[in-house]
Symmetry: C2
Subunit: 409 residues, 2 copies
């Protein structure tokens, strides 16, 4: 008997046929006395629909009330999946995030899990029930409903797998697993059978469609995560701690594991900033207060006491960010700012790159040969990221996928 | 400063414009330092839509899961109304049934309120918030979500008004108040300014569109209930305990207060039942076990040791009821049952009828003069009900409205 935690995304639950399909898969997983806890997202685009209704009422919905509103989508799919399981003759019970013991702080819209009280889930499992938990949500100590951030049903699943000491966490979605690059941009991209957890974290942070916090959580609690399709029998991709032998195989096979891409990038340049201590904080503090996430930051070397500060934000936050920057630009000694909104990020990721020189040079050369201009550069130990024009993203990703010979399995 | 509890029905909340309208009304009610607790139903026909999705998955949804599913509709409108109030500059907070302290038994789908813990509501009111509570739902001691039965948002409102000792409970809906008869059937029907709570209870039980349990609750806890329109400035109808002087006025004005009508009636006759003790229970116990509500029951006098048993059920439950009856008919000594599904109930209601003979005779004579056949009769102290063909309901109601001279204000 094992305990398995599964997660099904919204596109896997978009209508009653798909809900029945998910129930069948959960039911199969429970065969042979397995205990199953399934986490579900809201049906299809129901979260977007709820956002639309809220937008008809106000431009700035109160975060607490928005969480109450959005949390209902997961409750609905949770109840429907249980009904479908019961129709298959299985005992099943749905639990809201709060009922499942997911206790959070009160940062509505982006709450952090502070505690996990799994006693109710364990009680239901011991009664022989399959437990279906509403993803994406929790409850504060004051019993207020919170949500964990968009796409955070993954996080619910991994947190439950960690808290329940499950054998593994299975994330079912509408793709077959984690690919070496986005197949829509790089036709030769292929599904990986496994990936190291740190590589996956970089891939997720730099564009792969998975919640990065859930991968971090899996890393901290050593939970193996399988990402696979709810629509077919794909073997998926196993995200797990890489031991030395795997590492060796990885090195032999390929030091670059994948190409991560992300389209939603805009750039703001603040020209001729007086170069004195505290400049960066007087720019980035007001941005943080306005709840704007700043991504890549580049500061040029100072020329004659002034410097240019460049940073990227999501395109949806560009206007808001530009307003904030304009307000503080005078204080910074700069009257001039520039923006560029049609950008993208392309990153090469792989633990094999650690302590191995030459990857950055090869990346820049590859892009140059393809005639692609690099706007900004940022790196981590196992990742190199270039900001390029969005119109050149597909060409850039394909050239890098070829150059680093990722296209063999 | 007064404390007012309001309730807004689903048709008053069907889209974002209507939600804004409701927020405006709640906001107005809170002027002059009034404290307001508003209970809301699910938007428009969203409950029906949720029932439809459930029906696509199973013919017999698990009652616990159905409650989880249906309870989300009220949570959504609750959050949206709060957003609209905040947009008007008001402080507002939404509470689920559970958060509002509505504790119930675990009869899913038709739960009874067992306790009301108003501390959270009182805390929010003291903080200066308008409190918007999801109607129709509660929570068990085990923290499972329950619903209180269809139309039970009224019940939530009256229960909160009783528990919070509110000045009054205002039920806002899509009609101007309580009418002397259904205006679609009786064109001369008019809105009453007030009605005695016992009369209203009979009206509601026999067809007027209001949750009878909420009226009972108002009676027990002495909560005056105003039924009015959310769409205009109608003065509505006040449902309240009638004192002696009112009663006198009522007697002078009219002993019959209103005509209640209900269309959804079907009849089952079990012929030639052996007339021995226990016959009724051996028929009605299995019906109760099958969760079929039996309404009017008539047993003829025994002729040669056998009798005919006739009773009515809702049309939607007729097939299920007939199956149950067929199974037990043999044990009852009867092989034969008859059904008639196109029936309706018409009732005259008024406390003035108490201890005043002649009302029944006048009712029967009026129907006879109009050429309407009476299928069954049942009475209470302040009500006389006749079962007639549904095709003759409008004619019957109009004739009675005329005969009892209800058509003057």
């Amino acid at each position: 008997m094992s305990l398995i935690v599964q997660k099904y995304g919204g596109s896997s639950l978009a209508n009653s046929d798909l809900i029945r399909n998910v129930a069948k898969r959960i039911s199969n997983a429970s065969e042979g006395d397995n205990q199953v806890v399934a986490t579900v997202s809201a049906m299809g685009d129901s979260t977007d629909n709820l956002m639309d209704i809220a937008a008809q009422i106000t431009n700035s919905p109160n975060p607490r009330e928005l969480d109450v509103l959005l949390s209902t989508g997961e409750l609905q799919s949770c109840a429907l999946v249980c009904m479908a399981l019961q129709e298959l003759g299985k005992n099943a019970v749905s639990l809201s995030g709060g009922q499942a013991g997911i206790i959070t702080d009160s940062r509505f819209g982006n709450a952090k899990i502070s505690n996990l009280a799994t006693n109710r889930i364990e009680m239901e499992l011991n009664k022989g029930n399959i437990v279906v938990v509403a993803g994406f949500q929790g409850i504060t100590d004051e019993l207020d409903i919170t949500t964990l951030g968009r796409g955070a049903s993954d996080l619910t699943a991994v947190a439950l797998a960690a808290g329940l000491k499950a054998e593994r966490c299975e994330i079912y979605t509408d793709v077959d697993g984690i690919f070496t690059a986005d197949p829509r941009l790089v036709p030769s991209a292929y599904k990986m059978d496994e990936i190291g957890i740190e590589e996956m974290l970089e891939m997720a942070n730099y564009g792969a469609k998975m919640n990065p916090r859930s991968i971090e959580l899996g890393m901290v609690f050593n939970v193996p995560i399988l990402v696979s399709s709810s629509m077919n029998e794909s073997s998926g991709t196993l995200i797990h701690e890489v031991n030395d032998m795997d590492m060796k195989v990885g090195e032999i096979r390929n030091r670059v594991r994948g190409i991560a891409t992300e389209k939603d990038v805009a750039k703001i340049i603040v020209y001729s900033v007086v170069d004195r201590p505290g400049i960066a904080s007087s720019l980035f503090e007001p941005l943080a207060q306005a709840d704007i996430s700043v991504d890549v930051i580049v500061q040029n070397s100072s020329v004659e006491g002034t410097t240019d500060l460049t940073f990227t934000v999501k395109q949806s936050q560009l206007n808001k960010a530009a307003l904030v920057v304009k307000k503080v630009a005078d204080d910074l000694g700069s009257g001039q700012i520039g923006i560029d909104e049609d950008l993208a990020k392309v990153s090469v990721v792989g633990t094999g790159m650690q302590d191995s020189p030459g990857y950055a040079a090869k990346m820049f050369k590859t892009l140059a040969s393809a005639g692609i201009n690099i706007e900004m550069i940022t790196t981590s130990e196992i990742r190199i990221t270039c900001i390029v024009k969005v119109s050149e993203l597909s060409k850039a990703a394909s050239a890098l996928h070829d150059a680093f010979e990722i296209d063999f399995n």
